[in-house]
């Protein structure tokens, strides 16, 4: 039972990593840049949910939808205003740019008087729903299922199915795939690559918002919750940086390793397990589990 418990908490944590990593991978595939602001976008999404729930008094579903929509719009605007002017510059400048965006986002949230520096709970309807299975009379050795964790797993699975269908069957999705394979060729075939890049940033921001809203009931909403984004890098690398299913699988692996090492290994391994896994992965198989192998031909 113990191990099942650890696996479930690892999987739910891994889903969060996977969702953030999905944002990295979406942006990397489409625009070949890496966004270090993904964790901060997640934080903004959680704050958006908090704002619409507690200050505007929206019901849960409306609040979730409005927070995701607002973040999608924010992502599109971000691409249009900040990222697009340096399109075609070395990847390093865009990395620095997104680090700057992260700094500004974190700072601006902390600057909101009375709210930014506090820790908040997101009032979700499924709070405190717990099921127990098995175990003896005192509850020792029983399997405890948290609604929060189950919702994370279910929502991630749903979102993945949705994204899969969108990329496979919708026109926009197919166009995104085309431009991710070769921007210039896609442009010549009449695909509006720049507009698609904006959409991809919007999509990544929306996915980050979903991750934020799912994570909020577990870790609370605060300005520094975006640092969890740094653990999603290992997830993206383990899965293969250019692969969408890889991001989720990588996230699950990182989550599981973290949860199991936290229990079975000495103190300190829990926080570094993800990074040790990624270093081993880079040495053994730098392209990740699902990464495509590309080779330059002359």
């Amino acid at each position: 039972m113990q191990i099942l418990q650890l696996v479930i908490s690892g999987v739910s944590q891994g889903c969060i990593y996977g969702l953030i990593a999905l944002g990295f991978v979406l942006i990397y595939k489409a625009t070949e840049t890496v966004s270090f602001a993904q964790g901060e976008l997640m934080m903004l999404g959680a704050f958006g949910g908090l704002a619409s729930m507690t200050f505007m008094g929206f019901p849960y579903w409306l609040a979730v939808i409005s927070a995701i929509a607002a973040m999608a719009l924010f992502g599109v605007l971000l691409e249009r205003i900040v990222i697009r002017p340096i399109l075609g510059q070395p990847a390093f400048s865009i990395v620095m740019l997104t680090i700057g965006i992260g700094y500004v986002a974190r700072g601006l949230i902390t600057m909101i008087p009375g709210i930014g520096t506090e820790t908040h709970t997101l009032p979700v309807p499924y709070k405190d729903m717990i099921w127990k299975f098995g175990g003896d009379a005192n509850g020792i050795g029983s399997l405890v299922l948290n609604a929060e964790q189950l919702v994370i797993i279910a929502a991630t699975a749903g979102l993945c199915a949705l994204l899969f269908a969108a990329f496979k069957y919708s026109k926009v999705g197919v166009a995104m795939q085309a431009s991710s394979q070769n921007q210039l060729a896609a442009y010549y075939m009449g695909i509006p690559v720049k507009r698609l890049n904006g959409l991809v940033w919007g999509l990544a921001a929306a996915v980050a918002a979903v991750a934020g809203l799912l994570l909020a009931p577990i870790t609370f909403v605060h300005a520094n919750m975006g640092f969890i984004g740094l653990k999603a890098f290992p997830a993206a690398v383990v899965g293969g940086f250019g692969s969408l299913p890889g991001a989720i699988v990588g996230g699950l692996i990182i989550g599981l390793v973290e949860s199991l090492s936290g229990f079975y290994l000495p103190d300190g391994f829990k926080d570094t397990a993800a990074y040790i896994v990624v270093l081993v992965m880079l040495m053994v198989k730098p392209n990740g589990l699902f990464g495509e192998k590309l080779r330059k031909k002359v």
């Binding site: 990397y28 625009t31 070949e32 840049t33 890496v34 900040v82 002017p85 340096i86 399109l87 075609g88 510059q89 990847a91 390093f92 400048s93 865009i94 990395v95 620095m96 740019l97 680090i99 700057g100 965006i101 992260g102 700094y103 500004v104 986002a105 974190r106 700072g107 601006l108 949230i109 902390t110 600057m111 008087p113 930014g116 520096t117 070769n182 921007q183 210039l184 442009y187 690559v193 300005a223 740094l230 890098f233 290992p234 690398v237 940086f241 250019g242 103190d267 300190g268 926080d271 570094t272 993800a274 990074y275 040790i276 990624v278 270093l279 880079l282 040495m283 730098p286 590309l294 330059k296």
Partner: protein
């Protein structure tokens, strides 16, 4: 403007291109040597920090600006250097020997990190160094018998073969000497075949390789040198602060270092020191401006990070060559005076060239 006619090959690699360089850098040196008598204690301490960060910045500049490998875990080397220095100094080892040990140990660690750099590129390397930074931070926090764990460790005053340096001025001169030596070392390295190999690797790995540059050797060397400078900077940092703990060498510190070289100007030795000046003086400027801002903005805790992020975004968008690039433009304007053309430094716009095939 000044016309320099090149009449022999040696002129290309001269340290000082003309008399103006000699004059202005000598003036700067005189000013720096006279600084303890010109500035108050507090400002001298700030100047010492600028020198220390400048040394670390030189190392990161060599790696990121000249070899094109960027490290998001550079604070780890700083930490290794600082802890080595602290441990050895507290054991009574003289300052120069401890400093050499700090540099050597950091360089050794740098080689270990450089090894994955041989296989991975671009963002993968960034993530490898990031992971390494986290692991070092955790090791520093957990290896309590040596590092004192999260409660940190006290550092004694430097002991220069019997002369105990416990004044701010004395330590300032030590930092100045080391900064000057490392700047000269980097300048000399950059005009040597090794330095040109680094730049060739930055510009194109494939063409560098086809010119006969051993990629693995030079990349590892770049990591080792960069880490050694960071370690020396870290050692000085430990002495200056007199107290170090693992959370001083975390990811935020690494990003600050990266921010420093980008804002200073990637690919220029001046940029390392300009960036250090920015990094040290920015908190002061923000503090000064607090009085003039409305309280809701001035007293907010996030102000500093908004300013840092805003400045970083502005530099990447409008001035990718950093502060040194801005200076180059001003100088070029004066040199060409009536003939400065508007788009002289304009970047080419294009679709992103694929990084995946590099």
């Amino acid at each position: 403007m000044r016309f320099i006619f090149r009449t022999d090959y040696g002129q290309d690699v001269k340290l000082a291109k003309h008399g103006g360089h000699v004059f202005w850098y000598s003036a700067l040196m005189v000013l720096l040597v006279a600084a303890p008598w010109l500035f108050a204690e507090y400002w001298l301490a700030q100047l010492t920090f600028i020198l220390i960060y400048g040394i670390v910045g030189l190392g990161l500049m060599l790696l990121a600006g000249f070899t094109g490998l960027f490290s998001i875990g550079h604070a780890a080397f700083l930490g290794v250097g600082a802890y080595t220095q602290a441990v050895f100094t507290n054991m009574g080892v003289p300052f120069p020997i401890a400093l050499a040990l700090a540099g050597t140990l950091s360089a050794a660690v740098g080689v270990v990190v450089g090894l994955p750099a041989l296989r991975v590129k671009g963002i993968y390397l960034g993530i490898a160094t990031l992971s390494f930074g986290f692991i070092v931070e955790e090791v520093l926090a957990r290896w309590e018998s040596v590092t004192g764990g999260n409660s940190g460790i006290q550092v004694k005053h430097p002991n220069l073969f019997g002369w105990k340096v416990d004044s701010g001025e004395g330590f300032y001169f030590i930092c100045l000497v080391i900064a000057v030596i490392s700047t000269l070392a980097i300048l000399n390295l950059l005009r040597s075949p090794t330095g040109r190999a680094f730049v060739a690797i930055r510009d194109s790995e494939i063409s560098a390789q086809s010119m006969g540059i051993h990629l693995a050797r030079y990349k590892t060397l770049s990591f080792a040198l960069s880490a050694a400078l960071a370690g020396i900077g870290g050692a000085l940092y430990a002495h200056k602060l007199r107290f170090i703990s693992p959370d001083q060498f975390n990811i935020l510190q690494s990003i600050d270092l990266l921010l420093m070289v980008v804002i200073g100007g990637l690919g220029s030795v001046h940029g390392a020191f300009l960036g250090a000046i920015f990094l040290i003086s920015m908190p002061q400027l923000i503090n000064l401006s607090k009085g003039y801002l409305p309280d809701t903005i001035g007293q907010a805790p996030g102000l500093q990070s908004v300013v840092y992020g805003g400045v970083l975004i502005a530099f990447v968008l409008f001035e990718p060559l950093g502060m040194y690039g801005r200076w180059l433009k001003v100088r070029t304007w004066f040199q060409l005076f009536p003939f400065y053309r508007k788009g002289l430094f304009k970047r080419q716009k294009s679709f992103q060239k694929s990084d995946r095939l590099k």
